[in-house]
Symmetry: C2
Subunit: 395 residues, 2 copies
Amino acid sequence: MKVPSYELDKRVADFQLSLKSKGIDGALLVQRADTLYYTGTAQNVHVYIPAEGKPIVLTYRDFIRAQAESSWAVIPLKGMSKIPAYIQEAGHLLPKTLGLELDVLPVNQFERYRKIFPEVSFVDVSPEIRYQRAVKSNWERNRLEESAKILPEVLEYAKNILRPGMTEIELEGLLEGKARALGHGGHVRMRGFGSEFHVGAITSGARAAMNSSFDGPVTGKGTSVAHPNGASMDPIKEGEPILVDMVTVYNGYQIDQTRILSLGPLSEELTKAYEITLQVEELIRRALIPGRVAGEVFEEILTWVQENTSYEENFMGYGAGRVRFVGHGVGLELDELPTISKGSKEVLKAGMVIAIEPKFVFPDLGAVGIEDTVIVEGELGAAFLSVTSRNLIIV
Amino acid sequence: MKVPSYELDKRVADFQLSLKSKGIDGALLVQRADTLYYTGTAQNVHVYIPAEGKPIVLTYRDFIRAQAESSWAVIPLKGMSKIPAYIQEAGHLLPKTLGLELDVLPVNQFERYRKIFPEVSFVDVSPEIRYQRAVKSNWERNRLEESAKILPEVLEYAKNILRPGMTEIELEGLLEGKARALGHGGHVRMRGFGSEFHVGAITSGARAAMNSSFDGPVTGKGTSVAHPNGASMDPIKEGEPILVDMVTVYNGYQIDQTRILSLGPLSEELTKAYEITLQVEELIRRALIPGRVAGEVFEEILTWVQENTSYEENFMGYGAGRVRFVGHGVGLELDELPTISKGSKEVLKAGMVIAIEPKFVFPDLGAVGIEDTVIVEGELGAAFLSVTSRNLIIV
């Protein structure tokens, strides 16, 4: 689906306001999620956004698709050294101060821009971009609601195919295949340097308590030393919690969700722990109110778990694997703002979309928990975008 | 599978030789494929490799797994500012010249290192790393041979499930699911900034001639504007070539392959064109001899296609989508050295592993071609690592 021009106009206009307020003459953006956000195309482009006037989109490939998808002028890029010329030919003055995405831009590429723009002073505009993108428009909300339709069907399918002896990776492969058939875009974008993600974590029993490089409460064993996250080659056993943490992406917009399945009933203790995570999720959801500070919400939730449960040491991971957040922004990327995390000063705004994921991890038994993607609205708390039943799925 | 210590010893020793020859006192590496290569763990680590002496591995998470996987000293990383202290505590002098991966390292992270190492001059060691990693050891060759066992089974499965009306994305999902069940690690690593890859390109008919952001001869339509590569939601039609370009990764090592399937026979013209790509592949394979210059091999192949076929304008893409290479290095990453590309000065060496992929793209009919992963050996040309039959798969 094409991004409508009114949407692109608004995104660029809002970004230009923050450029002006910081005295930045223009921004040259290259990171895929950012260029998709401001141009409407995920082709291989540079976009120059002046503080005033229309952006220009410079592309290596593919020109035809970029032109069909973006509402801005699209120009074939014949070499990075020509970028200043393209800017001037479009009727803009060369910037004195140029914004770049210095949180992701590799040093060698930055050095090329320094040679191309010898007189220019460079500033990092990634915070402005990330805070702007954190607040979703109605059009984006509709895209997220479409993306949310995939996972319920995937979980229905899981009920039919789950069987004893099946390996974690077999289950993951089948569930991803089903999500793909329903239009899941496959590649899940992350911004953080070195972040690697495939489908999510489909992990069962004690493997769910294995920590790894991935910065999440439950990451799994993985298939090998080289891929130490997510599903393993080990078989799923009856009575063990099967944690299905999956991201679906549709028209670029991601929904992050976790549900617990099992072959046969779970123990009373795990069932009780699971029910507590539902309570905690509800507390988080109600606390996500415009004006609140993310770090304060995190502390409030942590305190509640300390005072009302016996699972403090199991909350959001176990041992060295414990993470210091209970939610993270999602949209075009999986690691967007805000993070409902320790010390976060981020102030919640209506339209922010957040995956909230209270989980308890038990070293011997495995992990139980819930994750839904919600949108900040008003005083009553955030609204659910994900639409899957929150019942345990006992097969 | 653990990387044996003799393998890690050799990799580090060879890297230390190139550090010394360049007068570099040490290197601080953070990129996943590089740190996996030198440490044996894919956990979240910094590795400091001094020009002489043993490396140290600094990790945020997960310490326990990193320690079990690496043969070097593993130290919990309590903050980047402490890195110089860890280096000194390990008995090393602080470097005067420090190597970093400046081809991938983001500017903001580099600025942090500059503050942490105020007296140090920084140099890019990514060329040394990439040239070293281009030449595979016997142990690595064995891993690649294991990875190559997955795709023949996936293609056998494809014969059973392929049916008219199936969408491209349905086929891709099922084939990836099968590969996953056989141990495919899922996430395919690429080094280039902004490179995005999921499973490969499963694309049929004229969609195979749609160009996109991905730098390959055949990229496909994709599922949406946001994911404009690979399989689409469109149905596969009888008599059209179905190009299955898939990467499998096992123990971190990637095999890149392409085969052509179809529902019912292909036209005589496409069948003939396909047979020519087999001839071209054989010419490339035979030309991959130690000492030869990659760019010269590329020109030789291009000339042969110009002189012996009527498909010059269809070779390696069509129109703006034509790429200027016929092969690329593979291993822990999909975009390794050498590239058999226009103007490449890279000199072939025994042990280099290269995916060779001659393809013809016809705007109305679709794409036919072949891709195999081979290893450079001696005068007789490269040896096949991929083991799938090269016949057209007519279902």
